[in-house]
Subunit: 160 residues, 2 copies
């Protein structure tokens, strides 16, 4: 990444870019979604649930293991199980945010899936929340400032 | 999209996929981020703020206008202004969610940017929130069920 992108990109933009790199592809997000919100763990469950081509599924699961988003382990039935790590589970809000946008702007028949709270069956939605005044925050009230990670050397050592 | 992807994909997965299609690319998200959270409106502001190549910036801005994420209008100084529409502003949570993941898992020097609440200068974070019991919800307490948009015909009429 360092060689093809500009300095400013590397310095202040790597967080979102890195997330896109490891899971910013439609099948990747759907596999993580089914693992996280449907409890899918086995190859056959993902394949059946998503009707995904086996070769694509194989490549995505292998990538997730390499990236540390999943661990692969022998299951009780002898079939391998793919289990999300904390790093993988942390993609939950990304999946919800993308889904909420699509539901609002490109789902004329209504939301294809709904996120449900296990304990009360209410709908789960994302809110932006201020950790100081505790308010729910509209995006028009948010700005960005440089954080500690923006003060890197001019010659970035960040690699992809 | 309909011709290359499977039926299940189209039926239940188009919301997140559609969001990825229109803004799921690193420069696209960064342009929207600077428009939304830094108030950038002019070509030169995006170019300088992101150090993005002019040809890439041009193609992304044109795409946003076509997709209805931005409107282009003459500015007071004669330079064109690109203003986010509501559809474009709605990518705010996507940008925040991606950034939060990257900050947590791939930002050893700390967050490159911080989201700040304009009125109190507190940090703004995303929370998953239940609309029934009002609780802040952990992702492990969330599951997905089919929504109204999942009951489409077998032969999807959804086009990309």
């Amino acid at each position: 990444m360092g060689r093809v992108l500009g300095r400013s990109y590397e310095r202040e933009n790597c967080s979102a870019a890195r997330a896109l790199e490891v899971a910013g592809e439609r099948w990747s997000l759907l596999i993580i979604r089914d693992a996280l919100f449907r409890g899918s763990t086995r190859f056959s469950q993902f394949e059946r649930g998503l009707r995904i081509a086996p070769n694509i599924l194989t490549s995505r699961l292998e990538r997730f293991v390499v990236e540390g988003l999943m661990v692969k382990q022998p299951g009780a039935t002898g079939q391998a199980e793919y289990l999300l790590t904390e790093k993988g589970r942390d993609f939950g809000p990304v999946i919800m945010a993308l889904t909420e946008w699509g539901d609002r702007w490109d789902a004329p028949a209504g939301p294809p899936i709904i996120f449900v709270h296990a304990t009360c069956e209410g709908n789960v939605v994302l809110d932006a929340h201020c950790d100081r005044c505790d308010a729910t925050v509209d995006m028009t009230e948010v700005s960005v400032t440089a954080g500690p990670g923006s003060r890197q050397d001019e010659v970035s050592t960040h690699s992809s």
